[in-house]
Amino acid sequence: MVALDARNHRIEGDRRHLGRALSLWLLALLLVLAVFSLGHGASGVSAPAVLLDRLAGRAIAPTDAVVLFDIRLPRLLTGILVGAGLAVSGAIMQGLFRNPLADPGLLGVSAGASLGAISAIVMGGALPAAISAAIGWHLVPLAAFAGSWLAMLTLYGIATRQGRTSVATMLLAGIALAAMIAALSGLIIYRADDEQLRDLTFWGMGSLAGSSWSKLQAAGPVILLALMAAPALARGLNGLALGEAAAAHVGIRVQRIKTGAVLITAAATGAAVAISGGIGFVGIVVPHLLRLIAGPDHRWLLVNSALLGSSVLIVADMISRSIVAPAELPIGIVTAMIGGPFFLWVLLSNRRALDG
């Protein structure tokens, strides 16, 4: 009876119930996909069988244990965090720049990360042995993360005067910065040998194949913290949709929202790109689709972007590791191949709404 009352009293145009219902469906979808992803892989190791053996205290073949607990599980968790991080970052950037096509690339995050990775791949060998031994194969992710933050902080510094950040300056300076970073990357790439070039190409296409517990331990908390902080931006981003002045008029601390948005995006995207390379389209397609279903209210958009982003990446990863098994396709190719046409379809079928 109470539920019925609530339904009768809902105002027309209030789509929060859609967001709430969608979040439950997306959570269920994510859980199903996660279980499915754990259970399937090129090696044919059966997850239930291994788990039963473990519960019953029976011996497990070392290969099976490695496949389940050191390959599939960290890879699944990495996929969930990276997908959520990329999709939420995309939604935040679109809210901040007031443009449904914005992505963290506008903050120089991607260019910075790729410069970091390129430097590490090409010049990592020149590091003193003591340092390279201490960092080991984490050098590329670390350099990518550092690069993304360096680029973002530079841009934020350029665009901020007297405590106010100009989003327009950030956008334009971002283009200039990206050009400079591209030139610098080109300079470094010029020195690269054949193998380094192939490594660079593969890094740019993204992959979850290098997932491991140690990478997850390093990057997971960063992405998780960013994801947990993101909902605090929701009301502010809703207000920003009316413009900065109007947002301030309804009581939003606009500068705090901008700073928060930049930091959260840089943390989530920087860490995601660092451990998985360049994975495109998730950050644009996922929030766009969700806006079509349940509206642009960021209070549900951010949560649902995290859930759908994770699911999309898990599916893309399952495709990437099964389509050419036993080899695998870089996941960035899969997301772009699914994401590109899908995005076009969404755009074309909603053309009237967009133009109107």
């Binding site: 090129a42 050191d70 390959i71 201490a134 593969f202 491991s212 140690s214």
Partner: protein, 301 residues
């Protein structure tokens, strides 16, 4: 539960670091040590074109269950399942072919995958790169030893040695060495050529000729003037086969390029094109390849 905790502790950053330091130290101390023998291995995964070629040369191909993308010689090898590019291997993909021995050329990766494969208890033997005449024999021997059949190396090594000896006999007088320009790509009229320190540079020197480009390491785009001043007597290119064939440089196209048209090579129409893996693979056929190249440069001796 204890097993699980133990599990994650075993692959934390500290543990990974310790393993890395230990591995580095071991590598430094032992040098290019012979691989451990695995005579009972019946499901061998071969990673790297030259390693696969050596397995065939040793007559051990029946023990292979899979290969990587770079292993496309001999043709029968292409019937084996392909586990992907050797520097971007996926751990589960590799495990799915259920290997009981992995033979990998130097540079297989990424390191995370290699670490997981070792953790899964699969014997993993890295074969030294073997550029240079002595290294090649070592490479063949290393593969034979890893497979636990050292005797099978005798014949291929002897054949290789015979080729190398013959090369040494017929090699031209150092004063009359011809200058060879190796062209990797000539797409859009832009020449990417080999400097020093490459497989191309090594095979040119083995064939008793001289690399016309000495100023840099690796494969780099060259300016027109640099090509003119390199004044090569011979242009050497490779055939990629399959999908790569489209970017192969054609002799007539090459000679028509303004930069090349001024060189001695253009005056003599001297363009040599050889199969890529044969020419640059540094496997058991390399002695033959160097001989063929020598003959192509200096005429049949």
């Amino acid at each position: 539960m204890t097993a699980r905790a133990c599990h994650s502790a075993g692959c934390g950053p500290r543990a990974a670091l310790m393993a890395l330091i230990a591995a580095t130290a071991a590598a430094l101390l032992s040098g290019p040590a012979a691989a451990d023998p695995h005579p009972d291995a019946s499901r061998v995964l071969s990673i790297g074109g030259s390693v696969t070629e050596i397995v065939y040369a040793l007559g051990q191909q029946d023990r292979l269950v899979a290969r990587d993308t770079t292993s496309n010689y001999p043709a029968e090898a292409q019937a084996l399942p392909d586990i992907g590019y050797m520097r971007q291997l996926s751990a589960e993909g590799v495990l799915s072919v259920k290997p009981d021995l992995i033979l990998a050329e130097d540079g297989a990766g990424p390191p995370e995958t290699i670490a997981l494969l070792k953790q899964a208890g699969i014997p993993f033997e890295t074969i030294p790169p073997g550029t240079g005449p002595g290294g090649l024999a070592d490479k063949i021997t290393a593969v034979a030893e890893a497979l636990g059949v050292p005797d099978t190396a005798t014949a291929p090594v002897a054949a290789l040695q015979a080729d190398l000896d013959r090369l040494a006999d017929i090699s031209a007088d150092p004063a009359q060495k011809k200058r060879v320009l190796f062209v990797l790509f000539a797409t859009g009229g832009r020449i990417t050529a080999s400097g020093t320190g490459t497989e191309a540079d090594a095979i040119i020197r083995m064939a008793g000729a001289e690399n016309a480009v000495q100023g840099f390491e690796g494969y780099k785009p060259l300016t027109d003037e640099a090509i003119t001043s390199a004044a090569p007597d011979i242009i050497l290119t490779m055939r990629r086969g399959g999908a790569g064939a489209e970017i192969d440089a054609k002799a007539e196209d090459l000679l028509a390029l303004p930069a090349i048209s001024t060189t001695p090579a253009a005056r003599n129409g001297a363009v040599i094109s050889m199969d890529g893996l044969y020419l640059l693979g540094f496997g058991p056929r390399t002695g033959k390849a160097a001989l063929d190249l020598h003959d192509a440069i200096y005429g049949t001796s």
